[in-house]
Amino acid sequence: MCDMNKNHLLLLYFHEGTDREEQKIQNHVNQCTDCQDYLLLLDQTNQTLYKWPDHRPHPNTWDLIMAKLPEKQMKPAVAKPIISITPILMILFSIVAILGVIFLVHDKMTLLPIWETIKEWVPVQFFGSFGVAAILFFLFGILVSLSLAPALILDFQSKKYKYHYN
């Protein structure tokens, strides 16, 4: 009786060993009738088992699976990226646009005859011409927002209920 570990024959039969291992086992098998018989048995049994073909589940199985999933959990299909590039680009564009406007204001402001007097003031010396232009720009922005605020509030109030019922 052959003393070869039968597990090695499984390695050979299912090609789960390395080339070297399989070659070594194959060399042994070539000279061993016991191992050849066992491989034959494995092969015959496996060939027989494969005669039981695959079957398909019933066509409505998927619908039954869907019926078991709670509706609340069926959420949107699209996986969102962690960082979206669009808002970043929009923010960059806004910053560039604001700086451009401030630069323009600063450019025009320094051409005014009154600037010669104003530039001697301490706060103006502290902030510089560009700083002053920026402050003027933001003050103008605040002024515009405040002047539009009542109209925006009224508009929001009138649409509030509409949103609610929609």
Partner: protein, 197 residues
Amino acid sequence: MEKRTDKELMKLIANKNTHALKALYRRYEIQIFNFILRNTGSREIAQELIQETFTRIWFAAHTFDQKRGNFKGWIYTIALNITRNEMSKKEYSYHFLDVDEIPESRHQDEDLKNESPDTILEQKERSHVIANALGKLKPYLREVIILKNYQQMKFREIAEATNIPEGTLKARYHRAIALLKKYLDPKECGGNNPCVT
């Protein structure tokens, strides 16, 4: 969706994407269904358990470790646990499929379309004999044979899915093969009719 890998689909399923679950179902329905069918021997139970398997995949998708990775092992672990659980609940006598119960297979549709009723019956009888032989095995032996032979898994993968050492699995495989030889042997079937032609 069909072109995505199993791991990508699992990531989407964890985010509750039903399209991804459907794609995964289409990819594995036949394998999982037949795995359960061959383990339980009942089409009706296999039909029920495949639903449970995919429902559990839906709920447990977030527990799948993308880095550790072997998806095939993971899905079979789920199917195996559900099958074992079901079988432990009921006292199965392994009343495997009767010839008439054996459903039309996809191969039968293609290969046996033009065959005579005799050939079709012969095919069904063959399936029946194999089902009976598998049914006579102890569940832990049958599992190894099914995972190895029908699901084409490596012993390493089966060890991962079942959490049983490879050496033990191989020993069980040898034991199962010896028993199947006996059960599939014409002399063991009684009479002059061979078990499998």
